[in-house]
Symmetry: C3
Amino acid sequence: MTTERTWPDPEVAEDLAVLRREAPLTHCITNLVADNFTANVLLAVGASPAMVVAGEEAGGFAAIARALLVNVGTITPPDAQAMRTAAAAARAAGRPWVLDPVGAGALPYRTGVVAELLAHRPAIVRGNASEILAVAGAAGGGKGVESTAGSAEALPRARELAARLGAVVAVSGPNDYATDGNEVVSIAGGNALATRVTATGCALGAVMAALAGVARTPLRAAVAASMLFKIAAERAARSARGPGSFAVAFLDELSAAATEPGR
Amino acid sequence: MTTERTWPDPEVAEDLAVLRREAPLTHCITNLVADNFTANVLLAVGASPAMVVAGEEAGGFAAIARALLVNVGTITPPDAQAMRTAAAAARAAGRPWVLDPVGAGALPYRTGVVAELLAHRPAIVRGNASEILAVAGAAGGGKGVESTAGSAEALPRARELAARLGAVVAVSGPNDYATDGNEVVSIAGGNALATRVTATGCALGAVMAALAGVARTPLRAAVAASMLFKIAAERAARSARGPGSFAVAFLDELSAAATEPGR
Amino acid sequence: MTTERTWPDPEVAEDLAVLRREAPLTHCITNLVADNFTANVLLAVGASPAMVVAGEEAGGFAAIARALLVNVGTITPPDAQAMRTAAAAARAAGRPWVLDPVGAGALPYRTGVVAELLAHRPAIVRGNASEILAVAGAAGGGKGVESTAGSAEALPRARELAARLGAVVAVSGPNDYATDGNEVVSIAGGNALATRVTATGCALGAVMAALAGVARTPLRAAVAASMLFKIAAERAARSARGPGSFAVAFLDELSAAATEPGR
């Protein structure tokens, strides 16, 4: 039931080509650490980012944009209100949206907001193993945070969660997984230096949103984003002297991989 | 009526020399994506940035600083209040301020705030063609957003707007223009990679503010900032392998160009 | 009474080894300019950063984390509330916390908040000479901001402040000083390019917090962080072509220095 996929991959190539051609306007409500890096990652892969965060604007903009990312990393009550409005508007407009439940489980306030947001039916929920297990708990099926969990360990709960939500669940780790509750895709590769650069996971969620705006299915979007990040991290690590030069090379390699010949 | 200017330029050299010598304290209320990059750009060119964003502090600080930048990219109601207070204080203290109407036209809330802010008489309004056309509309003379507009296309409306506001209007694009309603200056150059790095336009507005604090006229400030950005982008593109290394080289080249011999 | 310390240093080596082994969860409430860079610096040295800024979460999280950084650089009233809650919770839980009074003295609102925060007994107060002199004034013993002050000039007041607060006071400048009111440690080195990259001082405060979570005394934490920053800046400057490449190399060198053989 688990398919392993590696770069290059014809479906991913197709989805990245559409991404470049359509440059989907991607609405992000993300955290203070990730705002700049996320915008740069989206530009590097060919999407068109827009961070619109006020409650006064988030609903209207979510209906204009091709896709929405909601990331609760530094959430405050005004942010939560904008996120609810934007998620509801995206759903009403038939636009896919991605939920990144950063820190869910460890912090009660945001865990509650995440549980509410699930009612607006995200197309993709992306997190590390602990966060996905926490969301599975928040959604009524589980035991909460298991911060020592690996991504493979979270997989059975991720599949149940995906089936229950009717969403794709993407679990990030040394190995990434994406599942729609039925099919499971495993993506190996990457490099440990990516864990030494802040907001790489947050930016991955944003690229999943951009791709969800153009790809045939949310599962394809999640898989394409993960594969692109894994290959860019592998290549960036070859020339990096540490986490600073890795982050720079990662943006260069994302841009190059997203436009490779045949794509 | 349109003058084309290219690097090196004696007036720009003079203004950059004053900038380096006086290191003007530049008060920025900008967006969450641009805060860090804008501060680094201002430091690279020799200005002294300070992001002071609370309503409790923005008015007092605008009167201390040499110049103010207001950028509505991720505006919320508390930001709007701080912006109004700061713009009013800057005007009362005789300090020049720059308005960057990011996303004006596309989003009604910020378009309204921008229209209010114009009453405080910015020295410079800087944006892309669509934003300038939107501001022209908001100011009572036009047809609103035209998102497909090029910078040359926006020029007639930019001149009218400048004359009506008694301000300089700067239109960014593959070619930059700056006009005080009478004279029009055209600045060519740059590199498309600059559009793949977030917040370069936002940072340009900030450098216009810093220069407006020291240059003889706002038009000179807008022209000097544009020329500096165009030459730095051209040079950075020579060594860049993608958008990540371009952004790094751009900061290095800004710093070098701002201190070139003869300056 | 003043000890000069230079890299390599066996105590610093020991503290950095503990930092790497324990990867202390470091709670940061910092400013909008510094959020991303601070997280990347903490990851580079081996700590585990978490920016948790809502009043609803800051208290609970400060009690879970190993240490807390409070930096008032872009403070707003909701931030101030979260800072008070977090500082009180850290103190109640016996966790060390670091106060970075950015801009204290120059701006009355934040100067008042800083004075209130001192009641929660920070383990370390870190700032430039002007800020430390302002805090000394706010704490009841002094004459306020002296923005032209050098770090050596602030030293007598820094010692008095440290003795009065029962805290370490760290003064940053071309020469760094750290004092617990009795012992004074002087750390030379570094490079002027560090002053051309925004948020390096803010990130230094964060590393002091991370180290305070694992080191035997706050004085050792402050000294180890300063020495690490000075050596990384010196090394980064060797290959840097300007402030952009310096910032990248600085992260690489921090990471390398924190894991040097013997550490």
